[in-house]
């Protein structure tokens, strides 16, 4: 997922084709990909930029609108709401996934019982392979105020559940919880893979120097895991920032007081329900700018913070 410049050049053993080498062979091999790339990615990317300067409803002829769509963005309270919801969701998602995924991975990594470890790994990963459509429909029932199991068992231990998807204070929290259930297995797998690269000798050395479990975790495991944690954090943020499926399925209109309206959902509403193609394109440009910023930040922070062995 990371595109450092070194990944682009062919490395030390550059292919020396020589002057006699026919370069049309190379073009022939990459041409299907390049054609599809131009038609479905590069072309649409440029088209989205151009469209953002127009006003168009897909039916009547388009009109040049200058920077009108962009000035509209600055004074659009619904866009602000969608952006703040999305940032809250993404930050909560990163924190809960990283903490949960790391603790679960450390726990499973220390397990000695093979069968139990298999059970835990499988049950953590199960939800991740299911489509969001099925997950969202299922959780609408799981959190139902009358017959949902969460409501029932929380009631048994004396906790009164809110009406999750009706209450504007709780709707986004419910989506955060559902997202955790669905994707923590992914974070867990990434963390587990990272943990297995931590040399056991270092941990044993720290232990024989008298460190307790917590000190080993905090001073040895975490620093050595920092590249993995960082990577998982970025991936989680980017995925969470583009969250659409569950919010659209569970709260198709953006929830009570737009409390679950996310930026991609707003883009969808503007583009495909209100047919404000120009404005939707401007919003999509904003999403792209934020993604690009996060990626740039990834490189910058990554170089500063991440411990490299």
């Amino acid at each position: 997922m990371t595109a450092a410049p070194s990944l682009v050049s062919s490395g030390s053993r550059a292919n020396t084709g020589g002057p006699g080498h026919r370069s049309w062979v190379g073009y022939a091999f990459v041409s299907p990909a390049v054609l599809l790339f131009v038609v479905f990615i590069l072309g649409p990317f440029v088209a989205a930029i151009i469209l953002s300067f127009y006003s168009w409803d897909m039916l009547t002829p388009s009109k040049f609108h200058g920077i009108g769509n962009f000035t509209k963005m600055f004074s659009d309270p619904t866009l602000y709401k969608a952006l703040s919801n999305t940032f809250i969701f993404a930050i909560a998602s990163v924190v809960t996934h990283l903490v949960g995924g790391l603790l679960l991975a450390v726990g499973v990594n220390r397990m000695t019982n093979k069968a139990l470890s298999y059970f835990v790994r499988t049950s953590l990963f199960f939800p991740f392979v299911i489509s969001w459509a099925a997950v969202a429909l299922l959780w609408k029932y799981v959190l139902d105020p009358t017959f949902g199991i969460v409501t029932y068992y929380l009631g048994q231990i004396g906790i009164n559940s809110p009406n999750w998807f009706i209450d504007p204070h709780w709707a986004l929290t419910a989506i955060i919880g559902i997202d955790w259930w669905h994707t923590v297995g992914f974070t867990f797998i990434i963390m587990l893979a990272g943990l297995q690269t931590v040399p056991t000798e270092l941990i044993e050395a720290a232990r024989s120097d008298g460190c307790n479990g917590w000190q080993v975790f905090w001073n040895v495991t975490i620093p050595l895991m920092s590249p993995t944690i960082f990577f998982a954090g970025i991936i989680t943020f980017i995925g969470a920032f583009q969250i659409f499926d569950p919010v659209q399925i569970i709260t198709p209109n953006g929830g009570p007081n737009n409390s679950t309206l996310t930026i991609v959902m707003y883009l969808y509403q503007q583009g495909f329900q209100a047919f404000q193609v120009g404005y939707a394109s401007a919003v999509s440009l904003l999403v792209f700018a934020i993604m690009a910023l996060v990626t740039a930040l990834q490189f910058w922070l990554g170089r500063k913070w991440v411990h490299s062995a």
């Binding site: 997922m1 595109a3 990944l7 682009v8 062919s10 053993r13 292919n15 020396t16 084709g17 370069s23 049309w24 062979v25 190379g26 091999f29 990459v30 299907p32 990909a33 790339f37 072309g43 649409p44 990317f45 088209a47 989205a48 469209l51 726990g107 499973v108 220390r110 000695t112 139990l116 835990v120 499988t122 199960f126 299911i130 489509s131 969001w132 459509a133 099925a134 429909l137 299922l138 959780w139 029932y141 799981v142 017959f147 199991i149 994707t183 992914f186 797998i189 587990l192 990577f231 583009q242 659409f244 499926d245 991609v264 883009l267 969808y268 193609v277 999509s284 792209f288 993604m291 990626t295």
Partner: protein, 271 residues
Amino acid sequence: MRPGRLVLGVVLFIVGVLMLAPLVWLIVQSLMPEGDAFSLPPSWIPKPFSLANFKGIDGLIPFWQMALNSVIVAVVSTVGSMAVSVLAAYGFSRLPFRGRDRLFALMLAALMVPGQMTVIPVFILMRNLHMIDTLQALWLPALINVFAIFFFRQYFNTIPRELDEAARIDGASHGWILFRMILPLSGPALAAMSILSFEGSWNNYFGPLIFLSSHNKMTLPIGLVTLQAGQGGSSTVVFAAITAVVVPVLVVFLIFQRAFVASIASAGIRG
């Protein structure tokens, strides 16, 4: 066994059970008669047992047609994108041509472009091509998989070039080198990308939501959602439909668990 380990085992076991509980509840309710399901306290064993809900699915949505559509889109996208990506990765890894590295860098940079940004122009393009409400609208854009090209190119670069240079001297064509030498050595990479591509297509909701409108063109995820939106079917039938979508996926996952988890860990792609 130290007490610490016992506590750890118990805690993780409870977490596992809690993660599975919604799925177990789903399957159990789908196997009960309409009047008995969704009772409180929740039932965790399907007693009385009934398959009537599953028979009710086809009256509400063309389930088998939707399943077939999902299979067609997933198989065509996966096979097609793997073919396109493998050819391109060979070109970028092994064949010299003018502007090669710049072209590759441009494609990599496009990984940053979110799909939501290109979807409106692609929608307009599909409309002009009269492909709205067809399966092509889903698999055609899926044929370009920049991440797979990048992943395969990295993998091919680890295969010693001496091998193909020797084969070139013996008169082998590039096609032969790619399909007879490099691909047989790239099994894990091919498996990882195929699994992720298939899973992505199979679970895709955004694309079908935008491109498909008629029931018998829909794939399973979007079909499920229309089932809950209108139709007026009972909740147990909805649960039966969700179960019918979820359980085969879980079974396939259990069979290919090792390959699946390895592909996720190696590529780091979030669904």
